[in-house]
Symmetry: D2
Subunit: 286 residues, 4 copies
């Protein structure tokens, strides 16, 4: 990778602000646009953006309608205007690229590299996601996580890492999975094994239940089994895995915690984006 | 220990409320007094308190002047009035018993067992203290504790446990101590070793510094070494180990976090008090 | 699954002996054949084996030529003779089924379920493999693993689990990988990250190097970088990842440790086979 | 501490050999005596030993009768002859100094600093002791420590560290103690709590029992409760805490594992001695 890059950081939230700072500290030439509520030295126009080696658009790239996602700008920025300022051949990175935006880019001969679609970012984001979940649980529960009985549903990246961290804090962790290989993983890593399809009747001991599976695993019947005071955290993307309406009626406290990395550890999240962008740059030969 | 006790829980904060609930669930006869802002079924008078097997006064036992500490009562309760209602021979437990209060009790032939002075409560309280410190650090820092460089100063109960937990969360933990045996403990448990007297010049890498030592270890000079954004948590009792005025002038963010167990995990803290009271009861032959 | 099965355990090593014991303790009817050097109550003929619900052949199923693998039998047992005693419709499980043996079975209308090919056994076997590697390292090194610098090459099941366990023992663990997602996994789990392709010039600090990757990663040049006394363990299947001849000439101590589960923890290994066979039985509707 | 010392390493086992090597690598002038079976460049006479800044005698210092402990020498070395070669004012370090030897030294105006009596060495030695115990258990048991139920008796340095390490390997660890504060420690560190006085009737589930307490805790009755195949390791100094004769009659496999540091990790043990000697040197103003 080239030692000194010309990078444009355009739009987005606090994470993009930290990203720009990080790039600056690493010695790159950084231009910032559409972040003027948080950064003083923003560019006023994207007119020089075509000179950039690399352009980093936000996560998600799209805001309302066909606008760029710019919560820290006073103005609205149509995606088309931003894309018009770029040129083919630049490495343009963006998060959660939807088909519309991809089409707008393609029409101009631009390729949007979706950093959010890459496995290494998913893995890196698991770290602040898990830590955010732990922070919320600590804030909400009148007991310590140490000694608490916790059920983590789902044995993907986040479920596995969350189980490790909770054990590190002294919680008694059960991890539920469906596939034979996952169940074997759970045993090999010293957690209590549960089968996600066979949770009925076994939910009463938990102080905390965290869902990470993208499926309706906590329906009204299962929610009604939970003991008083049990907290339910849902980390799965919308619509999540909890029947929130039933929970409300049953008086079960539930929190659907989304987009944790940018909220609880924006600096760490920014670094994770940058590591991923660096991988893209290397692959593109820069 | 007798299976069913008559216990009076008198005064104090949310911790006493949870303690009463816990005793009730365990099948004991529980009377509650001077907690009427939090509990409906309080006794109106302590006139039957002399019938109790065990009386649990709050932590700390004394509020302003010679009053019982009763933040959840509408009224003021002079300690003398409470003690007048008790009788010699009861097991009377209280937290942080000061000489004045002890003298008031002695005059009436009462013995106050100070549960806060017992080692097992100090150890048990280390758990919510450490978890509370972690919660605050998570809330305050824009980075994850995972990957953060943390210095824990002091190698007592809390320093040791905090170091373990932080490592469980993936932090890079240095632990500073003074005694040869403590330094050997630090090495044996795989933390980076620092000598508390030789920290000068070595404080710049940390993202978080937590003091647990009852001595002024973080003076203006050391504080000035910390890198921008470093958070300083002081867990040592007043006056703490940080020059807070210097920190304010230097722009170093500091938090003096006291009485964490009752604040972050009152239910766990209540249970710890009860375990300790049970030990006292056993020793008293009840 | 049926509560009481009729199971035949045929041939193999100590692992099969423990497997038979385990089945017996669980209440199944167990017949044992071709294990007479280790078990007294062996059947003398497999003539009743066609009555079994489930037949468990050894791992690997094939010994020399076309014989069953029977290290604990006085006699030679041609595979064809064993297969002749079985009948289509039985659940027949075997480990590492080679094409020849599969063909012999197919000719008789038998299906051999290869338990060794299943992911859950691979995961379960990682546990004793990793523990065996640790035992060997402890036996061979004049230092403790605590404090030792260890490089684990390869970020599959075994590499990951080994890294966890070594950290649990206090070793300083680096884990090398190639894929971006694996490198992110390594960071997320707090190990030092190395890139397997960029190890040249960075191998001198290690006290122990464990290869788990199925590729020649430790050639003469890399071996020559290792410091005196460094131990090299190769856990990869033959031919392994080490240039053993170069190691011999360089005086680097290397151990190619294969088939560890059956050797270091045959009882645990037997249990893992049984859990896998149970999964097969369930899938076959037994 | 002076950068370059003149050190004499006299007598002892492999640990002293490694200690001499370590000192040599650190740039000190090293003389070696009474280790000629393991080291080529030994001095033939201790006649220049009075020139040393520091003399390191073995652990234990005394062999048979009034001889120096010299298992790696062809000859016998009376302690008096060695002490005659030294001079008052040198820092003379020795391990497990018995009253006779101390008296012999005192008569000559020499002070023997007993490094084995220092807390930091006890702590540092806990590391290889614990690792040695784990190695033995791995070698002896047909199951993995992962998943094994282990009882550690005694909550001192070694019991605590062993419990941590076993948990790191995935064992299910119970830790038994007597004092309230220790019991609270066990809970705070997430181990199962047992009371050493109340083990009767609760010993049947364990696969491994390790005693670290200097008291007869495993008598015939308790041993008879252990399940078949349970291994008993005794790490307590002679006479240990196990009724070995009863164990033999009951067929319980027991191992009294003593002096593990020098046996399983002599290089680590040597380093621990040197760190301790350095502390002594600093205290003596060298």
């Amino acid at each position: 990778m080239k030692h000194r890059l010309n990078v444009w950081v355009i739009g987005g939230d606090q994470r993009q602000v930290y990203l720009a700072e990080l790039l600056h500290r690493e010695g790159h030439t950084v231009h910032i646009y559409a972040l003027e509520q948080a950064v003083e030295d923003c560019d006023e126009e994207p007119s020089q953006a075509h000179l950039a080696d690399c352009v980093i658009l936000p996560l998600p790239v799209t805001g309302n309608g066909s606008l760029l996602n710019t919560p820290l700008s006073h103005r609205s920025h149509p995606l088309s205007a931003i894309l018009d300022a770029l040129r083919p051949g630049q490495v343009i990175c963006a998060g959660k690229v939807d088909p519309n935006t991809a089409a707008l880019a393609a029409k101009r001969g631009l390729v949007l590299h979706d950093y959010f679609a890459r496995e290494e970012l998913a893995m890196a984001n698991a770290v602040p996601t898990v830590e955010g979940a732990i922070q919320i649980a600590m804030e909400q529960l009148p007991i310590t996580l140490h000694g608490a009985r916790v059920l983590v549903i789902g044995c993907g990246r986040i479920g596995k890492l969350l189980a490790h961290r909770l054990k590190g804090l002294g919680a008694k962790v059960s991890l539920s999975a469906r596939k034979c290989a996952d169940l074997a993983w759970v045993e090999a890593h010293d957690f209590c094994v549960e089968h996600t399809d066979e949770l009925d009747g076994w939910l009463c001991p938990y102080d905390l239940v965290v869902n990470t599976a993208p499926a309706r695993v906590l329906d009204a019947e299962r929610l009604s089994e939970l003991k008083e005071g049990c907290l339910v955290l849902d980390l799965a993307s919308k619509p999540g895995g909890v029947d929130f309406e039933a929970a409300r009626q049953l008086g079960v406290k539930t929190i659907h915690a989304l987009s944790l990395p940018g909220r609880v550890a924006p600096m760490t999240a920014a670094r994770a984006v940058w590591v991923t962008v660096c991988n893209i740059l290397r692959e593109e030969g820069l």
